[in-house]
Symmetry: C2
């Protein structure tokens, strides 16, 4: 079995390292072909034992791969998907890690060569490149899985096989939770889970930068709260996915209106000298947020 | 020397533990009096060796303290400040850790018994109570220091002494950076560094909760990005300070407008099939955010 991983950055690189950790994967004698424009990433991945072969995207042996994983940022991924699908051998399996699912799944459905089974592992850091890749990145993660499409459409057996293969791959890489979602529902849900947080991080960082004479003092006072709240702004890739999410404009507009409404409530509470209702809202929300199960910070 | 710490939660408790670590502090033979309504916190702090004596706020020996630190959340702190100032012995030093500085410093200026030197250590976690207190919480932190007021007003020698005492206390506790700021400039700067992030965290969490049928899937997909971006919402205390910040309504309104403007830019880019300018903006911002010096995550 040969697997091609296109893009050996944080996600593709971590996936290769995570698979390599597995004794089950070793027993399967699967070869990993690393495919990247960046020669240094290929060399580093080879040296780390993450990949067996290295290839340039323009001359990669896509036709020799049973499975290809697209792990590049959203714009590159959407651009490369049709050509890679066309270069693969008929009936092979193509999958991705894109943070939006409507666009890649629509492209996958439109091609007539391979099975496309879109996925989205919910894990990442603000670091980039193979140097940031870690074998434990996906440990305990949730992976969203979209219905297989492409040439499998209507063929239940092929769809089941594609689903099982993608799921098994991520389970081998450490993921423990799987959520089967149609592309539109994935994009709706991830707008709240990931894309609104990313765009909010961007506007918070821009607000500090735009604070004029106050900006230097704001920078000096910025600590763990600012660090965490704006972390996703340091990872341009989530923001890149966010702007390709059809549901984001409406959600971002609603969030903006919420902030404006909150500003009005603070003013009203200050004027009436009664901030108690706001305090109670914050207190109850803090309780609910603490009770929400979320993955722990990894060392 | 006797120090009173009012409120043995995360901040007051960590301060007591941090001071206790210091051999210099031990040599000074300073007694720490823990003052809290919560009997369990007092017992735990005594057991941990963080405090020498425990007292209830209504019967604490304020008059016997050379220095009192107010470490309760904002509403309680503002309510208690005048009475505690009045109960201290004339000329003693009162300071605080409140996340806003205009309101406590105005209260401090209005009383005629003690010197009030407002401070704000830029450190915290989303945990609460003495059980969450850690001796290393303030290591490497920045502390904002406001001009001493109260009976020191106009007395340069008293002001210098008060400043030096508060600064030395936080340096002993591990802080390494100090920023002298007038209360209004502190509140302006902290709006961007901390209070906008806290209120944004609140609205992001409420947006997910309000996502209707999509909310369960959004919860299932929420991972490290959502965890970090909404972390401050789990700490009601930053939000409590934020709603007492005079500069927050305008800043929150502007941030809301930014999000709405960004929604429009995403729609326009999608319609014109040209998201490149947005992608470049995100990419450049990610570079600037990564280049910003921020405290590391502590173990």
């Amino acid at each position: 079995v040969r697997i091609g991983i296109v893009g050996l950055g944080l996600i593709g690189g971590s996936l290769a390292l995570a698979l390599r950790r597995s004794s089950e994967f070793a027993k399967s004698r699967t070869a990993i072909i690393g495919i990247d424009f960046n020669r240094a990433s290929l060399v580093a991945a080879k040296k780390a034992g993450a990949i067996d072969e290295a290839a340039h995207p323009d001359s990669a042996p896509y036709a020799a791969c049973d499975l290809v994983l697209l792990c590049t940022p959203t714009p590159e991924l959407l651009k490369a998907l049709p050509a890679i699908a066309a270069a693969m051998h008929p009936g092979a399996l193509l999958t991705d890690v894109c943070g939006v699912k409507e666009l890649p799944c629509a492209l996958g459905a439109a091609q007539r060569n391979v099975v496309f089974a879109g996925a989205h592992p919910m894990a990442g850091t603000e670091q980039r490149g193979f140097s940031a890749a870690r074998a434990n990145l996906f440990d305990g993660a949730c992976v969203a899985l979209c219905p297989p499409t492409g040439i499998s459409q209507g063929n239940t057996a092929w769809e089941s096989a594609a689903k099982a293969t993608v799921r098994a791959l991520w389970a081998t890489a450490g993921a423990t939770r799987f959520l089967e979602l149609d592309p539109d529902e994935h994009d709706r849900a991830v707008a709240y889970a990931s894309h609104l947080p990313a765009l909010t991080a961007v506007t918070l960082f821009e607000a500090l930068e735009g604070a004029g004479a106050t900006a230097p003092n704001a920078r000096a006072l910025a600590a763990g709260g600012f660090r965490d709240t704006t972390r996703l702004a340091a990872d341009g890739t989530v923001g890149q996915a966010a702007v390709h999410n059809r549901f984001i404009p409406e959600a971002a507009r609603a969030l903006g209106e919420s902030l404006i409404a909150l500003a009005g409530q603070i003013e009203a509470g200050t004027l009436s000298n009664d901030l108690t209702p706001l305090a109670q809202r914050l207190e109850k929300l803090a309780d609910r947020r603490r009770a929400m199960p979320l993955p722990p910070v990894k060392a």
